[in-house]
Each structure stands twice: as C-alpha cells, then as structure tokens.
C-alpha cells in the first residue's frame, strides 16, 4: 500500500499536517507490507472473483459474488440452520481423529521400538496405506451399515495411517547416540523410552497429526456426501441439488475455515510442546 492510498482513505485533513502524515503512513506501511506479501495473492484472487461475478465475466449463478456467499453463510449461522450440521460433522471427525490418535500413537511407539512387530506388520501396513480409504468405504458400509459407525470408521481408517507411520518413523529416527548416553547413566528401557524416545518423537508425531487432521476433513465430506442427511458435506451436496449456490459455497468456505482452525490448534499445541525446537524460544 502506498502513501497516496493512505492519504486518500484518511481524507484531506491529514494532508494539511505534513509532520504527522509520514510517521503514520510509515507505521501503516510497516503493518501492511508483511500482510500484503503473505496474503496479497489471496486478496487479489478474492477481488477478481467479486469483480468477475458482478461484472458478468463469469456466470454469477455458478460463481455468485462474495457478498452473497458471505451473507448466505451469515444467515445460515445466525438462524442456527448450519449449527446442527457443524456439530455433527465435528463429532464424526472428532471421534474418528481421537480414536486414530489413541490407537495410532501407542501402536506406533511399540512398532517403532520392536523390530519384530514392525517387520511382521509392515507389509500389511504398506498394503492398507496404498488402498484408498474411499475405495474401502463400500466395504465398511457393508459391514457396519449406512449409519454413523461406518462414517466414523472410514475417517478413522484414513487418519490412522498418517499418525501411525509418522510415529513409527519418529521413534526409529531417534538418535541412537542419545539412547547410548542415557544407558551410561543407568537408564533402563522404560526410562529411556520415557525420557529420550518419547520426547524425541514428538515433532514427527505432530507432522502425522497435522496430516491426519486434513485427511479427517477430506474423508468427512466424502462420507457425508453418501447416505447422510446432516453435516457440512451433506449441505454442500444438498445446496447444489437445490441450486442454492451461495449456500454451497458458504458450506465449502466453512470447511476451509474448519481446516485452518484445526491446523492452527495443532500448530499452537506443537509450539507449546516443542518449545526447545523453536528458532527463538
């Protein structure tokens, strides 16, 4: 943002006080430039969308202007219509993610340490990993019915592997020199695990957690598009069937925001737990 822009938005009064203006302008600039560098392209894209839609460069019934999307989002949130969907979606992905964490991390810690267990399970793991969870969804439906269980299970299935594999990787990459050091101080297997292996694996585990959180939302939508009557994913589909395009985009936007929030929470947690690895701790 340039000097002129600031002046024009602040009005003519400021221009009469030359001593105040440059300082204020430079402060604004110092604040705005990094934002612009980071989000400039996003803002540009949104602006292009808005203009293209209102000017009729694209079909506004397929790409409605942003203000329509935002007001659709606001209306459905304020009226409480979407809240139920958000709640059920959070519940499905939350239970699945929590189960993947509770099973994936301990299993990964064991597998990373015990070569025999890892060798025995690795081919199976690699096979399942390469099989898309979505391809298995019909199987889960067959086994568990079309209700909540199969939806939660397919999300759980897809989120388990990133966490499991990241944990195994983290444990296996623990510096053996540190383990040896701990051994010379009389640390037994359990102490070494608790004080060396576990803390050393935390950064790798977080990589898996963040990957899994993204996967959870991805699978959530897919699961909710098949045989659901509630949920954000259902709303995306439903709005499209009913040609409520602004609402469809509103639901998509909500999903993106959900993903951003989930990632932000994990990043925050990681910062707290891995302060030692921060560049400016």
């Amino acid at each position: 943002m340039s000097y002129e822009n600031v002046n024009s938005t602040l009005g003519a009064d400021f221009r009469l006080r030359p001593s105040a203006t440059p300082r204020f302008a430079s402060q604004v600039q110092a604040f705005v430039s990094p934002l612009l560098a980071r989000y400039g392209i996003v803002l540009g894209f949104l602006a292009l969308w808005q203009i293209a839609s209102t000017q009729g460069w694209v079909n506004p019934s397929v790409f409605p202007p942003l203000d329509l999307i935002l007001s659709a989002l606001w209306d459905s949130l304020a009226s409480g219509a979407l809240l139920d969907d958000i709640a059920i979606s959070l519940q499905r992905s939350g239970i699945a993610f929590a189960a993947a964490v509770v099973i994936g991390i301990p299993l990964g810690l064991v597998m990373g340490q015990a070569r025999i267990v890892e060798q025995a399970l690795d081919p199976l793991l690699q096979f399942f990993r390469q099989t898309s969870a979505l391809a298995l969804y019909p199987v889960f439906i067959l086994l568990l019915g079309l209700g909540e269980t199969s939806k939660v299970f397919v999300i759980f299935w897809a989120t388990l592997f990133p966490i499991l594999l990241a944990t195994i990787g983290g444990v296996k990459e623990v510096d053996t020199k540190l383990v040896e050091m701990a051994r010379t101080y009389g640390a037994g297997r359990l102490t070494i695990f608790r004080r060396v292996v576990l803390p050393a694996s935390v950064p790798a585990i977080f990589v898996g957690l963040r990957l899994s959180a993204t996967t959870a939302l991805l699978l959530l939508i897919a699961a909710e598009m098949i045989g659901a009557n509630k949920g954000i994913g259902f709303q995306v589909m439903n709005a499209q069937y009913n040609f409520q395009i602004p609402l469809m985009f509103a639901a998509i936007l909500l999903l993106a925001l959900l993903g951003l929030v989930a990632n932000a929470v994990l990043v925050l947690l990681q910062r707290r737990l891995c302060r030692w690895a921060q560049p400016n701790a």
Binding site: M181, A187, A281
Partner: protein, 256 residues
Amino acid sequence: MSLAPATLRGEVTIRHLSKSFTLDGRPLPVLADVNLQVRSGESLAIVGASGSGKTTLLRILAGLDDADSGEVLIDGRAVKGVGSERAVIFQEPRLLPWLTVLENVAFGLDTRGVSRQEARSRARRYVQLVGLQSFENAYPRQLSGGMAQRVGIARALAVQPEILLLDEPLGALDAMTKISMQQELTRIWRDEDVTTILVTHDLEEAIYLADRILILPREKNAEPRLIEIDLPRPRDRSSPEFVRHREELLRLFGLH
C-alpha cells in the same frame, strides 16, 4: 558401604582384554591381549593411530560394548555393563535438546533416583563449576559447541563418578576453545577426586592432561607402550620438558 580401602577408589585393572570385529566375514582383531593398571585418581591418556582400538577399549570400559575375552576390574571387582561408578563424556555433547542446561546436567542424577530437589541443587553446583550459571535455562540449541561440551562435562561430574571416561571430548572443538577447555579440565580435575581415562588423537592434549600415556600400536602383536609425564600442573606447553615429551611421542609414531 564398600569394604575396599579408600585408596582403591577408582582403580581400574584390565586383564587380557581382546576384541575383534567381523569385516566381510573375516575377523578383524582390534584389541589383542591388552593389560593395564590404572591407579586411583590417576589421569591416563590413551593415544594411537586410527584403527588402534582406543575407542573400542574405552567403550568396553564404559560397558557399552562387550569384550570377546579378558576382564575389567574396578576396585578389584569384575564389572560387566554400565555402572554408577563410571561416567562417560563423548566426543559430541549428546545433550537432550528438549531439556534446559540445568535439566541436562541433572539427567544422570534423575535416572539414578536422586530426589528432584537434590538433583537440581547438585546440578546447579556443577553448572557453576563449568561457568554456565547464566545459561541454566537455555536450551542446547542456543549454546556454542564449547558451551555444549561443558554441559556434557558437568552432567558427567554431577553423578560424582569414581572413574571418568572421555572419548575425544575436545576433538570437535576449534583450536582456541580446545586449549581453554584443556585448562579448565585441569582446574576441574584438581578439585574432583576422580580417575580419568582419556582417549585422544591429540598428542599435545595427552601430554597436557595426563599423568601417563598409553600408546596403542596398530599392529596387534606389538606391545602397547606407557609413558610417564612427570610435570607439575598447570603445564607449560612451551617448556623444554613438554617439548621433549612431544618429540618422544612423535618419534614413536614415526613422525619425527
């Protein structure tokens, strides 16, 4: 309470120690029938060309590797595996990156069941001894190489071992830091009642720090040699006696 007389504390006896590794399916002897007596409170340096087995010998003493045959006795008792009477200082500081300096120094006390409070106060004393009191709460990532190695030294000393085993502890430091650390080690050892066994490839370091130097030959049938360094501390690197010892060692390695 040990029944051994106080003078025996930290005495190491090595008897007929042999070890070979397997390389391409063939046994490669590294140590062949090594015999050695390290006196209580003595500082012994082990030097030798690479492949002479000096690090292997230290690892066996530390209990990290097993010998093929022979035995190690500490204060008259045969030992196997690691033990609380020994502490090891490695070439790399090997600090736990998620612990602060103070927590790292307390690590060996924690694992040996010393109460948290006692461990903290003892750790604090040793952090002070190596001059890092203003870095107690720093993380290893924030330390220079020399500072990190001091933390490693403090951690080893904090468990108050009878025997300190050092595997090229200053090998990764720059020349200036190295010299100041050697001076510091001399100062620390003067105050701590501990037997030290130091593996190094730096002949000057060996002469500066050790009471005796064991030279391990690369040829396994040759006898290891022992050289006595009877100079007052702190030692003067440019004194004629010091220089004479260095020439003697260089000659033994065929370098002078």
